[in-house]
Subunit: 110 residues, 2 copies
DNA sequence: ACAAAGCGTAAGTGGTAGCTTACGCGTATG
DNA sequence: CATACGCGTAAGCTACCACTTACGCTTTGT
């Protein structure tokens, strides 16, 4: 039983990213998701639990199936968070790059 | 010796994110970075190795110090990748949301 | 040439994430 | 009411990640 993770860490795992991609493409039941992946159904259930705790997916009962779907808000929240991180670092980087390159290079880097 | 990781997974670790944030704010030597963190210097070295393999940081020798600095390109590449992922999922989500809500809800989300 | 600073790496350890098999509960179907 | 489907969870195992200590190499200073 995994700990509480932020969306970033939650989506870091490849399998979990696949699971999320699946439900983002189309709401699916657990068995459907598992059928398209090289892991067992309980494994998918656990991944969905993590995604659920991270507020990245949503659940709706339909008959005896449990339909999972992605939550746009969760994604957007994470994106905003990332953007802030980006901005901070990139600003610093830009300043430093200018200070560094203006003297001897010009920035032809790769 | 860690495996090869993509930028996403590399930045998933909190400590490693701190290391990256540090070098993004200002190019620093290994000891400097380690001095500001609750881990040993070798640990920082290993984290820097991972960031190096992920093309997220850069190294320059200066005297006997090894100065690490963040690579804007690496970040930007990851950001692009994320953006693509975003777009794909969000598009699907929007379509599905419309199809779903138009019949019985109205979109009182959250 | 010798001592010290600054790193990188090897070896070893603890913790935990991800997976599987086994089981039990709720729900539809005859 | 009995059977089968769909799912969540517990228990256990394996592998890997992050961290530490110990060692060796390169570079600077006296």
């Amino acid at each position: 039983m995994p700990q509480v993770m932020d969306a970033w860490q939650a989506l870091a795992d490849p399998t979990r990213r696949s699971v999320y991609a699946r439900v983002a493409t189309a709401p699916s039941s657990v068995s459907e998701i598992a059928h398209g992946l090289p892991v067992s159904r309980p494994a998918v259930s656990q991944h969905l639990r993590v995604l659920l705790d991270s507020r990245l997916v949503d659940v709706t009962r339909r008959g005896r199936e449990q339909v999972y779907r992605a939550r746009p808000e969760g994604l957007d929240a994470m994106r905003t968070e990332l953007e802030a991180f980006w901005r901070g670092t990139l600003t610093s980087l830009k300043v430093l790059a200018e200070l560094t390159y203006e003297a001897h290079d010009g920035g032809g880097g790769r």
